[in-house]
């Protein structure tokens, strides 16, 4: 174990520096705290002819896997010959280095100018191929291709869906300026999709991953907008008298649950996500009802309400019929519930004393697990594979994004170069 660490550390360090130098525009950097109980040792051999690429592939693949906390990256240097094809793999040597799996591959330029990228995951114990794929990618797609390769390796070796080829959105505050950003799941390639001198909060991905709903204060009050990431066009979909906030997409992408105050108080309504039609009221209370979140089957909604005194999480059927049922009972302040994509649990923020922490509650057992020990955690949301929860926290007086595995073992921090980062949300998996 110690040996591995001494081998790994310089490797990871040089990797980190390389990644930093490669992308001067990168605005988020990820640092892993803690690791999985068991880590799968995997060797990633540099692909043939990848050193000539504008973006080398295997360093991105290795960084993705290492960051997940579920893999040990085994040193792949000094092999002679360097294997790129299955018959070149010397299994005995890889076993001696402790690798359970070896990733090999090669890059060639296809006649149409794109790159032909083929790779294989070899089982070093059984000496068989676990997976093999070929991708055709343009230069600008190289990084995404590396994430997709990492997804395949992750899926084949852990049995869970990889989420390296997904994206995140978050808000950065720099001085008095607010930016809504979209970045790759590893924090690279951050792009600002909206900049404003007024606050932006509560971004939410549409189920197909091409639109964002959010709350902007540019009209001197909270108004809900939907913005297309493909065309950049945006539309105010809830701009009623009073405050409009907390958008949540229905699983079919046609509706949004929102919080409106137009009839007095903060109550939940359903609106069409294209802004058409009249809102349909979902809750009828004299209390605060807000922070709606649809269940993955679209049948019910979790929301925050203080109808019982302090804020707690409640569940209501979307189709009507049936009073809201309280689902959180531990503690006096439970807010910001988000379903897991498999619908089996939800994450939320629980206040314990003066501290706000990320927690998960299982629907079936009602068991609550508090996953973080920071003091000011906010806005948790699941990665599409149910395994990671992304949230906002404050370190050293500055807002940063952080992630914790849903078992609480692995923690990551996304460090922004400048400004306060907050309000993160993980995109769905988009099949292309």
């Amino acid at each position: 174990m110690k040996n591995l660490k001494t081998i790994l550390l310089p490797f990871l360090l040089s990797l980190g520096l390389f990644l930093l130098a490669q992308a001067a525009s990168a605005q988020l950097r990820i640092e892993v705290v803690g690791g999985g109980a068991t880590q799968i040792p995997v060797a990633i051999v540099p692909f043939r002819a990848e050193e000539g690429l504008a973006q080398r592939l295997t360093p991105v693949v290795a960084a993705d896997l290492a960051r997940s906390g579920l893999f040990k990256i085994v040193d792949a240097g000094g092999m002679n010959p360097v294997p790129h094809e299955p018959e070149q793999v010397n299994y005995a040597q890889w076993r001696a280095r402790g690798a359970d799996a070896v990733v090999i591959g090669a890059v060639t330029k296809a006649p149409d100018g794109r790159y032909d990228i083929r790779f294989r995951v070899m089982d070093a114990v059984k000496q068989t191929q676990i997976a093999g794929f070929v991708y055709f990618a343009t230069e600008s797609q190289l990084r995404l291709t590396a994430h997709k390769i990492a997804d395949v390796i992750y899926e084949k070796l852990t049995g869970d869906t990889g989420v390296f080829a997904t994206r995140i959105t978050y808000v950065v505050k720099r001085g008095s300026r607010y930016e809504l950003n979209v970045a790759d799941a590893d924090g690279f390639g951050a792009q600002s999709v909206l900049a404003s001198n007024e606050p932006i909060i509560s971004p939410a991905w549409s189920p197909e991953g091409t639109r964002l709903a959010y709350v902007s204060f540019e009209q001197k009050k909270p108004v809900v907008y939907v913005q297309s990431l493909t065309t950049g066009s945006r539309q105010a979909v809830a701009a009623f008298r009073g405050s409009n906030s907390a958008p949540a997409w229905s699983p079919d992408g046609k509706q949004l649950a929102v919080t409106l105050t137009r009839d007095g108080g903060s109550q939940l309504f359903l609106i069409n996500s294209d802004g058409s039609g009249a809102p349909r009221r979902l809750t009828q209370s004299a209390a605060i009802d807000t922070e709606a979140n649809f269940s993955p089957d679209g049948q019910s909604i979790l929301f925050t309400s203080d109808r019982g005194g302090g804020p707690q999480i409640y569940r209501i059927p979307v189709g009507g019929g049936g009073a809201p049922q309280r689902v959180t009972f531990e503690g006096r302040y439970n807010v910001s519930a988000r379903h897991s994509p498999d619908g089996k649990s939800f994450t939320f923020i629980q206040r314990n004393g003066g501290r706000f922490n990320v927690a998960v509650q299982d629907f079936a057992t009602r068991q609550v697990q508090v996953l973080t020990e920071g003091g000011v955690d906010e806005s948790p949301s699941f990665a599409p594979n149910n395994k990671i929860i992304l949230y906002a926290t404050v370190v050293g007086g500055r807002g940063i994004l952080a992630a914790v595995s849903s078992d609480g073992r692995i923690k990551q921090r996304f460090t922004a170069d400048v400004g306060d980062a907050r309000e993160p949300a993980w995109s769905p998996v988009v099949n292309k």
Binding site: K221, S266, E291, P311
Partner: protein, 183 residues
């Protein structure tokens, strides 16, 4: 009701008088509070002529009671206790003065902006800020303003006037502001 109103009015006048004397001792603090609470307006520069010194408050010249620092109507902020949306006794003269102003100027509109401190969920805080704004509106309606004249909105914790993470800043941010269209 009439008696209550008279008492309220008397208090309002008293508050106005006392604020006048405060103002003379420390005009800056009164002005600062108003400026920070109002929206960042894009006012043209005072003058484009030669080098001039214009220290005088231009609002004083207008005769607008909403901007006259000696008038209670120039006071726009109502502060709240932690987890509370109850308008405290000390702010009732202010609220009633604005309610009367709306009652006497039926075409006048107003926005009440609710605010909270930074602790807790942003969206839940937005709803708590709304509750504070609604509480102020409800009191104004009881004192003669009409519902259509007042829109209540919330900024939650998003537009703090004090940026610190301490009790003093939090207290400053637990607040509702009264904003008129031409502020």
């Amino acid at each position: 009701m009439k008696r209550i109103l008279t008492v309220v009015l008397a208090t309002a006048i008293l508050a106005a008088c006392s604020s006048t004397s405060t103002k003379e001792q420390d005009p800056a603090s009164v002005e600062d509070r108003g400026a920070a609470g109002s929206q960042p307006t894009a006012k043209p520069p005072v003058t484009t002529g030669g080098p001039t010194a214009k220290p005088l408050d231009p609002n004083a010249v207008s005769g607008n009671p909403l901007k006259d620092p000696s008038n209670v109507l120039s006071k726009r902020s109502i502060y709240f206790e932690l987890d509370s949306n109850i308008v405290k006794e000390e702010f009732k003269p202010l609220v009633s003065a604005h309610a009367r102003y709306l009652q006497q100027n039926r075409n006048q509109k107003m926005t009440v902006q609710g605010n909270t401190d930074e602790r807790g969920s942003r969206e839940y805080n937005l709803a708590l800020g709304q509750r504070r704004a609604d509480a102020v509106k409800q009191m104004m309606q009881l004192l003669g303003a009409q519902s259509e004249q007042i829109e209540t909105v919330s900024f939650g914790e998003e537009k703090p006037r004090a940026s610190g993470s301490d009790e003093k800043s939090w207290a400053e941010n637990r607040r509702a502001d009264l904003v008129y269209p031409n502020d």
